[in-house]
């Protein structure tokens, strides 16, 4: 088996909020292999964006280790991290907020090259602009002269300028109409093959994840509750949270009648953390066992689930 490109070991990230501590990420462990597209899914506040920010060292982890390409980057100095940034890039959710309105596309795209001393000539910009299906005259434009879809293509072009091996995509399609979404997903898939990139795709949109990713990690309340290959998790979800999440998505087909698993109430606050399963207050199948820490049950093929119902021979 190949070596993982990224290893995240027992990652914790806590934030102080006045007197309280927000437990945003609580012991997350996973690996990403070269060439994979891995989806990190969950609802708002589950910690998915914090995990990504820790991996890119935009946040300093409270505990745990992050190993990128065999190098432990958890404790690296800011200066050293900056040198590494050309190898891992990010595409942000809202291109309106992440593109500088006072910079032309040309300047936006040449900046990462100049920062890393990689700028050679105009050809690099032209190549990138063609790769994302934009025209050369877009280089002259400012963000306000571009449509939403075009802005997101510029965001993607900026991320691939330095030919990074690893790209974090933070909800890059969530502000787009469905019809545009297909074009962006197709573009991301093509770029991944052309440039041999590894993706971590952060999203709450499970239909997009299913069409872009090879594997998926499902997060709830700062922990990974289920992980596995896309087909295993989507066809045979074993954690009650994953089941509820999938059953909540309305299916555009009036003939499909489904049993919806409705969770009680809302995600609890990440201020006070109870031992045991994060879903214990909302789960219809909760027992005493769920109040203690839940181990991962391995269902084979990398499908791992932190739910007592995934234990061999478990009863509802």
């Amino acid at each position: 088996m190949t070596e993982p490109l990224l290893r995240v070991e027992n990652l914790h990230k806590h934030f102080k909020e006045g007197q309280h501590i927000i437990h945003a990420v609580n012991g997350v462990t996973f690996e990403i292999y070269p060439g994979e597209a891995v989806g990190l899914v969950g609802e708002s506040g589950c910690g998915k964006t914090t995990v990504a920010r820790c991996i890119l060292r935009l946040e300093k982890p409270t505990r745990g280790r992050i190993i990128f390409d065999d190098q432990d980057i958890t404790e690296l100095s800011t200066g050293k991290i900056r040198g590494l940034r050309r190898h891992f890039q990010m595409v942000f959710q809202d291109p309106n907020a992440s593109l500088n309105p006072r910079m032309t596309v040309r300047r936006t795209l040449s900046e990462p090259l100049q920062l890393h001393g990689l700028f050679e000539d105009e050809k690099q910009l032209q190549e990138a602009i063609h790769r994302v299906n934009l025209e050369l005259d877009h280089l002259q434009r400012y963000p306000h002269q571009l449509s939403g879809g075009q802005k997101q293509r510029v965001g993607i072009a900026r991320a691939i300028m330095t030919h990074p091996g690893f790209v974090v995509l933070d909800e890059p399609t969530s502000s787009l109409d469905m019809s545009l979404r297909i074009h962006i997903i197709a573009l991301l898939r093509r770029l991944q093959q052309e440039l041999y990139m590894t993706y971590m795709f952060i999203s709450h949109d499970l239909s997009t994840v299913r069409h872009l990713c090879d594997r998926v990690l499902v997060m709830y309340l700062g922990q990974i509750v289920e992980m596995g290959h896309i087909e295993d998790v989507f066809n045979n979800p074993r954690h009650v949270y994953t089941q509820a999440l999938l059953s909540s998505i309305p299916i555009p087909d009036p003939k499909v009648k489904r049993q919806r698993i409705l969770l009680k109430g809302e995600t609890p606050s990440a201020r006070e953390l109870k031992p045991g399963c994060g879903l214990q207050d909302r789960c219809p199948h909760v027992t005493e066992e769920c109040l203690n820490p839940v181990p991962y049950y391995d269902l084979g093929n990398g499908h791992r689930v932190a739910c007592r119902l995934a234990k061999p021979g478990a009863q509802q």
Binding site: D177, S179, L180, H183, R210, I230, S248, P252, P254, L262
Partner: protein
């Protein structure tokens, strides 16, 4: 068929733009029958929100109604004075919006805001109105309603805030409810809870609902009938099953084929995918003509007349008109 509760007839609306005007709604027509949920579906820029704001009389002041009628309860709402319209709004037609937190007064406790709606619309004394408000909050599934009634909007989650608005709407007992993307921005498990709530309330009170959404999954689960809009024009109107099984308009076909289903992965085909709405405000014809795979010469010159293909299924497309070659 029963008498319609709301009839939007040939509604055209424009906004001034530089020297000229832009026609953002072009002869929009549909009926809404009592006790049904009608979905008004379209992508960004299709005009669905402008249609709903016209109905409830909350258009921006620069909007110009070029023609058409909004018949409700025997009256043309477009002909009412501001004062007359104020009596209709809230009491007979209520609306819930996309961002619930921006629709609530941030300086007033949730319970007081619902109680105010109760007092105005049911003429109850203050303390009785407050008790009714708490009961309504309980009815929309807010746990520990008495104490949550004392919360300010910023202390509520998005899902809770939307429930407060639904409670406020129930206080008014409107004949027609307009819900404009009521769950956009909410998490998917919360979204499911809110739709179950709207479905339950619709079944219990028999309210008539106009649901505005871009999400065809939501349409399929909640609506009885659908009107599909593109660039300010209605393309197709149909019962929900017929729309999904036998879409007639080339735009509807493309829209349905662009859906990524969570339960059925498919190959991505960008050659079939839609492009963003590119508006040609001056075309006398069908606004989908520029992207239409079946485009005819007449499509750019003349708006197609409505063509009924089956009971309750109407399509606006020259493909079906007799004059077409």
């Amino acid at each position: 068929m029963a008498e319609s509760l709301l009839r939007v007839e040939e509604l055209s609306l424009a906004f001034p733009h530089e020297e000229a005007t832009r026609r953002v709604l072009d002869q929009v027509s549909f009926d809404l029958y009592p006790n049904e949920v009608l979905g008004l579906v379209g992508e960004s820029g299709s005009g669905k929100t402008m249609t709903s704001l016209t109905i409830i009389g909350l258009l921006p002041s620069t909007a110009q109604v070029l023609g058409g009628h909004v018949w409700f309860d025997g009256r043309d709402l477009l002909a009412l004075s501001d004062r007359e319209m104020r009596a209709v709004r809230g009491a007979q037609i209520a609306m819930i919006f996309q961002n619930p937190l921006s629709a609530l007064n941030p300086l007033q406790r949730a319970g007081d805001q619902v109680a105010r709606a109760v007092r105005i619309h049911r003429q109850l004394p203050k303390d009785e109105a407050y008790d009714t408000a708490v009961a309504l909050l309980r009815q929309v599934g807010i746990p520990d309603a008495a104490s949550r009634a004392r919360a300010y909007p910023h202390q509520l989650s998005g899902g809770m805030a939307q429930r407060v608005l639904v409670a406020m709407m129930l206080a008014c007992q409107p004949a027609l409810l307009i819900a404009d993307e009521p769950t956009t921005g909410l998490d998917v498990t919360v979204q499911a809870q809110i739709f179950e709530l709207i479905k339950d309330i619709q079944a219990d009170t028999g309210a008539t609902v106009l649901l505005i959404t871009h999400d065809l999954g939501v349409v399929s689960e909640v609506c009885h009938r659908v009107a599909v809009m593109y660039a300010g024009q209605i393309m197709e109107r149909a019962p929900v099953e017929a729309l999904f099984e036998r879409p007639q308009h080339p735009y509807t076909e493309r829209l349905l084929s662009s859906i990524l289903r969570v339960d059925q992965p498919k190959e991505l085909d960008t050659t079939q995918a839609l492009l963003p709405i590119s508006l040609d405000y001056d075309t006398p014809g069908c606004r989908f003509a520029n992207q239409c795979p079946n485009v005819l010469a007449i499509c750019r010159e003349q708006r197609p007349a409505p063509h009924t293909t089956a009971q309750g299924h109407t399509v606006f497309c020259h493909k079906y008109t007799d004059e077409a070659p």
